[in-house]
């Protein structure tokens, strides 16, 4: 620094403490901070989580099972064969290991009924229907309900929350009161009321989900929007003249999408459980259609004599629920570490 000559001050300093700068080298004062893309970072974080990975593959396996299992067995899920009732699981090859050999208390039902070359992988129920095909059908229903739950969350929940949070004011006040009323009604009551109008079945369950399942999501989205709305980048977009539509969908939505996905995954097990629970109570899928809930419900009656009838659908159900929860946790950790305590 140069001062005026009258003010020049000299300082003593140790000359060895300084180096002559190498001017041939270009000094870059601003350096790249971080080079990883958002997606790659997400993948590496997600795959580092063992539980989430296991859950992810388990879901894929269950999907494959639900899609293709009915083709592996010659029996239809609603095919009643009175002669073949209450047969326990028998799988070729595995039976020599002492499990899935069609024996109950050491007695093979298959030999008793003279069906030596017949194999029911998961056994049959009290009407002689193939449980393998029925479990696959039930899993399909559960996965379908999961998909519906995702749709409802995504479309109704997210839209409701975005609009309510973004526009605020009177509209927000009005929309929040609607939510309060809806969330005050237990979903079981909603279903029972719907039963008066509709027959029990998938439609009723989906309607019940439509009425109640998106409320948590919309509350979360609203809170996230309220937070994002105050950010300076929204202000910046506004001063550039961005429309409300592009503010909502191009600025805010990408920023809350991680949390939205996590929340969606979290809500899937709840929806599947609700379907099974309603079916178990007899409010859900009617016969001869099968869902995991109805399978558990019918198997439960014969639990003491034929435990496989309940054990198999429950196992599939547990794996499904656990997998979705694990994946949701993994997604949350990878996408949205701040939500860890939610």
């Amino acid at each position: 620094m140069e001062y005026e000559s009258s003010q020049t001050i000299y300082y003593d300093f140790n000359k060895e403490a300084f180096l002559i700068a190498d001017k041939t080298k270009k000094v870059r004062d601003e350096k790249k901070i971080n080079d990883t893309s958002v997606f790659r970072e997400f993948v590496s974080k997600f795959t580092a989580n063992k539980g989430a990975l296991i859950g992810f593959f388990a879901i894929i396996l269950i999907c494959i099972f639900a899609l293709f299992a009915p083709f592996l067995t010659p029996y239809q899920y609603d095919q009643i064969q009175a002669a073949n009732q209450n047969l326990s699981p028998r799988i070729p090859g595995v039976e020599s290991l002492g499990i899935f050999n069609g024996k109950i208390m050491g007695i093979s039902q298959y030999e008793k009924t003279n069906l030596k070359n017949t194999y029911y992988f998961f056994g049959t129920d009290t009407l002689g229907r193939d449980l393998f095909a029925r479990t696959a059908m039930g899993t399909r229903i559960s996965l379908f309900v999961a998909a519906v739950a995702v749709m409802i969350d995504m479309f109704i929940g997210v839209t409701f929350g975005l609009v309510s949070g973004f526009f605020g004011g009177v509209m927000d006040l009005f929309m929040q009161r609607i939510i309060e009323i809806l969330s005050g009604i237990p979903s079981i009551v909603v279903v029972t009321l719907l039963m008066i109008v509709f027959k029990p079945g998938l439609v009723t369950i989906i309607l019940a989900l439509v009425f109640t399942n998106w409320i948590g999501m919309s509350k979360l989205v609203r809170a996230l929007v309220l937070k994002q709305k105050e950010q300076e980048y929204i202000l910046a977009a506004k001063t550039l003249g961005a429309s409300d539509f592009s503010l909502i969908f191009k600025e805010i939505l990408p920023n809350i999408f991680g949390s939205v996905i996590v929340m969606t995954m979290m809500s899937i097990p709840g929806a599947i459980f609700m379907e099974s629970f309603l079916s178990f109570l007899g409010l859900g899928i009617p016969e001869p259609m099968a869902s995991l809930g109805t399978l558990v419900s019918t198997g439960y009656k014969k639990m003491m004599i034929y435990p496989y009838m309940i054990a198999i659908p429950v196992t599939v159900f547990v794996i499904l629920m656990l997998s979705f929860n694990l994946v949701a946790d993994g997604l949350r950790d990878a996408l949205d570490p701040k939500m860890k305590n939610v």
């Binding site: 001062y3 004062d29 300076e232 980048y233 202000l235 910046a236 977009a237």
Partner: protein
């Protein structure tokens, strides 16, 4: 008003007259953030607005660009009234001609958008028919102008340092070629060496593009460096305004004096003898409401009551009037 009588050779780019901005806290309390501010900015110049935290600097900027609805007063841009009732046409007029550079370079960039999309946002809104190549070309040109390289275009904001992020913010503001840029504490959150870079960048851009700045800051040293005119703001009142030279050579208002006394001097010997002047604003707060603007010299105005004005002119040797 005395100020309006002074003949101006050319129409100022921005003319702010008696701007007031009040905020309702609840039914009883109103915060008066800005109390009747009047100032003009000429085209191609930089107007520095200084004052302590809470003095209303940012509020003025935001009222002009209509993030807030001004409670009272008129604002003219290029002779066109931009205050008052808002319609679509007016909004477009404002957003195309006034842009803003924000204080926090991280918060003001959307973390989920690529740099190219952040910078091109103004183009996407105001020049819709642009082909992809043209858009890219324009963004690259602006990036070069602000000292970023092309390779940065496809990265996300978190991959940049603070100074680079502020360059992105500047690029976003200048891409639609605005007449006026409001730099709202644009350098306050940067460290000193980067501050110099950004201020120099803004100066160079002004030379090249002829942009006008409303430079909001609390650091007088930097304001002195970049501004042609300075307005000193306190509690929502413009206590003193004038050219940079007038303010620094001959500060009259005790608040301005106290602000100037807070600038550290590079020479340690002088720095040792530097005295901080206290300003007892509580004693002066009430006088603001009664005070009026006095013309001193050239474009130098000060807010004072008659009694204050006489006292200051007595104790001030350089005070001519």
């Amino acid at each position: 008003m005395e100020k309006e009588n002074t003949a101006q050779d050319e129409m100022p780019l921005l003319n702010v007259i008696h701007l007031k901005q009040y905020f309702k806290v609840d039914k009883k309390n109103i915060i008066k953030a800005v109390n009747g501010i009047t100032f003009q900015i000429k085209e191609g110049e930089t107007y520095g607005l200084v004052g302590e935290s809470g003095s209303g600097k940012t509020t003025i900027g935001r009222s002009i660009i209509r993030i807030y609805e001004p409670s009272d007063g008129t604002v003219y841009l290029e002779g066109k009234k931009i205050s008052g009732k808002m319609d679509e046409e007016k909004r477009r007029f404002i957003s195309k001609r006034i842009q803003m550079i924000f204080q926090d370079p991280m918060a003001s960039l959307n973390p989920r958008k690529k740099v190219i999309d952040i910078i091109a946002q103004g183009l996407d809104i105001h020049e819709k028919g642009l082909s992809k190549e043209e858009r890219q070309k324009k963004v690259y040109r602006i990036m070069e102008l602000v000292g970023l390289s092309k390779e940065h275009a496809n990265r996300y904001p978190h991959e940049f340092s603070g100074g680079q992020r502020q360059r992105i913010g500047i690029a976003r503001a200048i891409i639609i070629n605005p007449k006026l840029i409001i730099a709202d504490e644009a350098i306050s959150s940067l460290d000193v060496s980067i501050q110099a870079q950004i201020v120099n960048l803004m100066k160079n851009l002004q030379k090249e593009l002829g942009t006008t700045y409303l430079f909001i800051a609390h650091d007088l040293a930097i304001v002195k460096y970049i501004s042609n005119h300075i307005g000193v703001l306190h509690l929502g009142y413009l206590v003193e305004s004038g050219t940079t030279e007038e303010i620094f050579r001959n500060p009259v208002h005790p608040y301005t004096k106290s602000l100037l006394s807070a600038i550290p001097h590079p020479n340690p010997k002088i720095e040792k003898t530097r005295k901080l002047l206290d300003y007892d604003f509580e004693a002066n707060q009430e006088t603001y409401e009664k005070a009026r603007e006095y013309h001193l010299e050239g474009e130098h105005y000060v807010l004072a009551t008659e009694e204050q004005f006489n006292r200051w002119s007595d104790e001030h040797p350089a005070f001519i009037y």
